[in-house]
Symmetry: C2
Subunit: 188 residues, 2 copies
Amino acid sequence: MRPTKREELVRKALTSFYQNGFHATGMDMIVEQSGISKTSIYNHFKTKEDLILAVLRLRDEKFRNWLYRRMEALASNPEGQLLAMFDALGEWFEETDFKGCMFIKASSEYQDQSHPIHKQSAEHKRIIEAHLGDLAAAAGYSNPVLVAQQLMVLKEGATVTAQLRARVDAAHDARQAAEMILLYAQKG
Amino acid sequence: MRPTKREELVRKALTSFYQNGFHATGMDMIVEQSGISKTSIYNHFKTKEDLILAVLRLRDEKFRNWLYRRMEALASNPEGQLLAMFDALGEWFEETDFKGCMFIKASSEYQDQSHPIHKQSAEHKRIIEAHLGDLAAAAGYSNPVLVAQQLMVLKEGATVTAQLRARVDAAHDARQAAEMILLYAQKG
DNA sequence: CTTAAACTGTACTGATCGGTAAACTTTAAA
DNA sequence: TTTAAAGTTTACCGATCAGTACAGTTTAAG
């Protein structure tokens, strides 16, 4: 097995699904955009759903890697990294091909909670929230779980606002709100 | 013209689109769910897109009416009403047929900012934010626009979290965060 | 009772959907 | 250089998509 073609397929499919949505993107469009034959695609993935799941796995890995590294680059201590997440989000929102969070969109199109695509989207969010919880614990907050949940609400809200209303500065609003949350959160 | 049939069609179409999504809901499914013939549907609306726009108009009116009334019922002063929005959201999240915000989902499926469906979704958010701004001004905050923006970010984040992760208590987290925002916002 | 508008069912269009069959060509390792 | 896997093109499948044509039926007002 040559992994390159498969990876290239998933990478190209990612941009197609991200830019156009899941239902709106037909397999023929993916053939066009990727330059990979349909027969070959279905040799790698049994169904469109399987391809989407692979796309979401790649997106999860790439996005979390990028976010975590950016948070570490922008601040040295855990408290600063929590706030730096919103600066990183702001950079993301400013990218020309920003089209919102792929997992929010996936869960919007596959609404059933038991659907694999929905479950995988929820898992992505769970992992990020756990990371924020670790940082909040390291920062010494007495209720790191609550802090992480509140910061996640701000993150999702800023992302949706940036996509739906083209409001890039939502990241700045969210950061200010996060600062107030951290100010009030008791330290253990 | 009898307005009843048309209204019934839009009402039934709303639940279909809300429960299943826009692309995933075919016109044949709307014929089934509404009991109204396809010929009659296309006599009222030229295209599926026109029907969706009418559905979103109805949703905007119904949702804002409900939210505003609920905020007024739960608190008497403007500051309390701002916080009561999150209690109202919590009630919404607990409804058995809650499936997230219809406008967030619409903008996820029609991503182009210039698309009528996307624009109408953004308008819905703009109107609610303006209402929050009025309440924040009445409450005496020196920067009511910023307060409204931050509360909107919390509202969107809580709604997405409740839908994507089945976390009804996101409304409670958001309310706590909102309390801290209001505590720190200077009064004029 | 008449009449016109509203609505109905049925059948259809061309396009596209996800997915497959079959025969052929490229690729990379033995 | 042989060989088998991985890739390709082309054509197709039945189902469904949004939307239409048409002839018949219900409805409500004069």
